[in-house]
């Protein structure tokens, strides 16, 4: 279990935390530059000045037009969305771990992932029959929208089931979350059982995650969520730090525990719902990134949340660069890369340093 224990070494952790955030900013900056500069076309950021000049002078150079297309219409939205996905998943993971006081908690526990998966699978499997009107209205965005609302709907169901007398019982929430996840999983299984060969292929690809559909409309659609997460994080730091000591202790510290729980759940659901909508199922980030930060700087959410956002974004971007380069001009699913590069590093850290926050 996580615990903000020692007062010895507190100063040390404070310094390490600040250093970590500074380092994370630098890492994310480097990852974004890498993501903008690397791709199968071989166009790099060296073309950027030309593109910018052309933008203002209205140049008609065809080569510049192609560079503009790749840099501005393909890689820039992809980089922004990758950063958003990584940051959202890591922050949501850190929040859930703080809320449930369990380092293995992830947003899946509040039903958002299973709800999103169910809605996405329904869109793929029923896209030609029952869900045809939905697909017709939203076109290529039918699946992302469905995933987002599915995630939110599942979370809403869970919160209404687990809430009693205006209170959210963390234990009930956890168990009800497992039950709702199982139910959504069963329905997802039923839908994939009745899917045909091609639909199954699509389902498999979606469940491995990818940023290949990145576009400016998607960036604009995720912007409100990015802003909401950024605004909510500072408000949650004190509450989640109180939770590290226990719910009763937090209450006695004068923290509004119910408000903290509701805000953390709402923000996680929105962030993960939007991330799943953009990139499909991308596992791993939500558990591993907060954990690595706790290993380095301890469980203080003043560091875990912002550094989580920065490092989560950096990890997804680096993984995505690998995804587009390894088998170019084809593309590997993001989830495969992430687990392949992240899991060994994580294993190394855990076996060397012990479980963060417990030690």
């Amino acid at each position: 279990m996580l615990r903000a224990r020692d007062s010895i070494g507190m100063v040390d952790r404070e310094a390490r935390g600040r250093l970590l955030i500074a380092g994370s900013v630098a890492l994310l900056g480097a990852a974004m530059l890498l993501s903008l500069s690397v791709g199968p076309t071989g166009i790099t950021l060296a073309s950027l000045p030309r593109v910018l000049v052309a933008l203002f002078t209205g140049s008609d150079d065809a080569a510049v037009a192609r560079e503009y297309l790749v840099l501005v219409d393909l890689r820039l939205p992809r980089t922004l969305l990758g950063a958003f996905v990584g940051a959202s998943l890591a922050v949501a993971g850190a929040m859930m771990q703080g809320l449930f006081r369990n380092p293995l908690a992830d947003p899946g526990l509040i039903g958002v992932s299973s709800g999103a998966a169910l809605a996405a699978v329904a869109t793929i499997a029923l896209g030609n029959t029952f869900a045809a009107p939905w697909v017709k209205i939203f076109g290529v965005y039918a699946l992302p929208f469905a995933a987002f609302f599915g995630g939110l709907a599942a979370t809403f169901v869970l919160v209404s089931v687990a809430g009693r007398h205006g209170q959210l019982m963390v234990g009930t929430l956890l168990l009800a979350g497992i039950a709702i996840g199982a139910l959504a999983g069963a329905l997802t299984g039923l839908l994939s059982y009745t899917s045909d060969d091609r639909e199954l292929r699509d389902l498999t690809l979606w469940s491995m995650g990818s940023l290949s559909g990145a576009s400016w409309p998607k960036v604009i659609a995720t912007l409100p969520f990015a802003v909401a997460v950024a605004l909510a994080v500072p408000r949650l730091v004190r509450g989640l730090n109180g939770f590290l000591l226990g719910e009763a202790e937090a209450f006695h510290m004068g923290i509004d525990v119910e408000a903290t729980k509701r805000l953390a759940i709402a923000i996680s659901a929105a962030a993960v719902g939007a991330a799943v909508a953009v990139a499909g199922v991308v596992g791993f980030v939500g558990i591993v990134i907060p954990h690595v930060i706790r290993l380095i700087a301890g469980p203080d959410h003043r560091f875990v949340l912002p550094a989580g956002a920065l490092l989560g974004a950096a990890l997804v971007l680096v993984a995505d660069v690998a995804a587009r380069m390894i088998v170019r001009p084809a593309e590997l699913p993001l989830g495969i890369i992430m687990a392949a590069i992240g899991a060994p590093v994580f294993l190394h850290l855990v076996t060397r340093r012990g479980i963060g926050g417990v030690e």
């Binding site: 071989g42 065809a62 192609r66 990818s210 990145a214 084809a330 593309e331």
Partner: protein, 310 residues
């Protein structure tokens, strides 16, 4: 910004020709083509084609246009040299926008099942002409695909020749089909996993090839490729089991024949199974009449169909 993006669309074709292909002289012809999605697409340059879909690649090779292909997708497994000699842009349902653009095609001819939808949408918005082709699981569909591709590439004469040849093969096939006495009841099995087989129901390419080969599809009550339990398969009482050999060379016929209850079906008792290459059997390209005839001969080996062959 708008004007630049707009001009980008118009000009990038020229850009690709000028910047990428360098010395090679582009085959220039300006024509407006209406594709299967109903989009009017300006085709300027037909060198450097990216072919997405096994059937389309096969048609391009049959028309002798392989020199114009620079890239294919992972389903383009016939002829075998396609995947060896051309750049592979990956599985047709999992394309990458920048990946596709990186091989600098001057023209993309793609199956209507290409995806994911966002990538196809983005590709259609670039200046590279993107032509969609219907999958066409019928003799008319195959002939139409051939004529469409030939027309786009300005080889209508060759296309006409190939189309006529395919038509006459389908006609000969239909005549043979007419001579079949008692039609065999067959089931197509896509694959078998742990006691569950995936059969080809109505509306599938397997169902379409069965019709051409003069077989009754006993799984017609199922819609699409669907898994069924062993009991349901036994109840279908097939006379013959048809399955496909995957590109890896593997097939599941032994698993199917070993399923409990199979011995009580006519196919199991007589051990009657046909294994054919997946793309050949289900691809609906130029080889489809031959594939249907092949299937017909193997099933009706002891009847009129084989008797009338040379």
């Amino acid at each position: 910004m708008r004007s630049l993006r707009h001009s980008a669309r118009i000009m990038a074709t020229l850009a690709f020709a000028a910047v990428v292909s360098g010395a090679s002289v582009p085959a220039t012809r300006a024509a407006t083509v209406t594709d299967a999605a109903g989009r009017k697409v300006e085709v300027v340059d037909t060198s450097n084609i990216l072919s997405i879909g096994g059937d389309i690649t096969e048609i391009l090779y049959s028309l002798g246009l392989e020199a114009k292909i620079i890239g294919v997708d992972a389903t383009s497994q016939f002829p075998a040299e396609a995947l060896k000699q051309k750049t592979n842009v990956g599985y047709l349902r999992a394309l990458s926008t920048e990946g596709v653009l990186s091989i600098a095609p001057h023209l993309i001819i793609a199956s209507a099942s290409a995806g994911p939808p966002e990538v196809v949408k983005a590709l259609k918005q670039t200046s590279v002409p993107y032509l969609e082709v219907e999958d066409g699981h019928s003799p008319e569909g195959v002939v139409e695909k051939v004529r469409f591709v030939a027309q786009v590439l300005d080889v209508s004469a060759e296309g006409d020749k190939l189309a006529r040849q395919i038509e006459s093969e389908f006609k000969a096939l239909a005549e043979r089909r007419g001579k079949i006495g008692k039609r065999s009841r067959a089931v197509f099995i896509l694959g078998a996993q742990s006691g569950r087989v995936t059969v080809g129901g109505s509306g599938t390419s397997a169902d379409a090839i069965f019709k051409l080969a003069g077989l009754d599809n006993v799984a017609a009550s199922v819609n699409g490729y669907k898994p069924v339990v062993d009991e349901a398969l036994v109840e279908m009482m097939p006379d013959v089991i048809v399955t496909m050999r995957r590109s890896s060379g593997t097939h599941d016929i032994d698993k199917v024949m070993g399923m409990p209850g199979m011995q009580s079906t006519p196919a199991g008792r007589a051990n009657r199974a046909v294994v054919m290459d997946g793309l050949y059997l289900l691809g609906f390209g130029p080889r489809t009449p031959a594939a249907a005839l092949d299937l017909m001969r193997q099933v009706y080996s002891d009847s009129a169909a084989s008797g009338s062959t040379k």
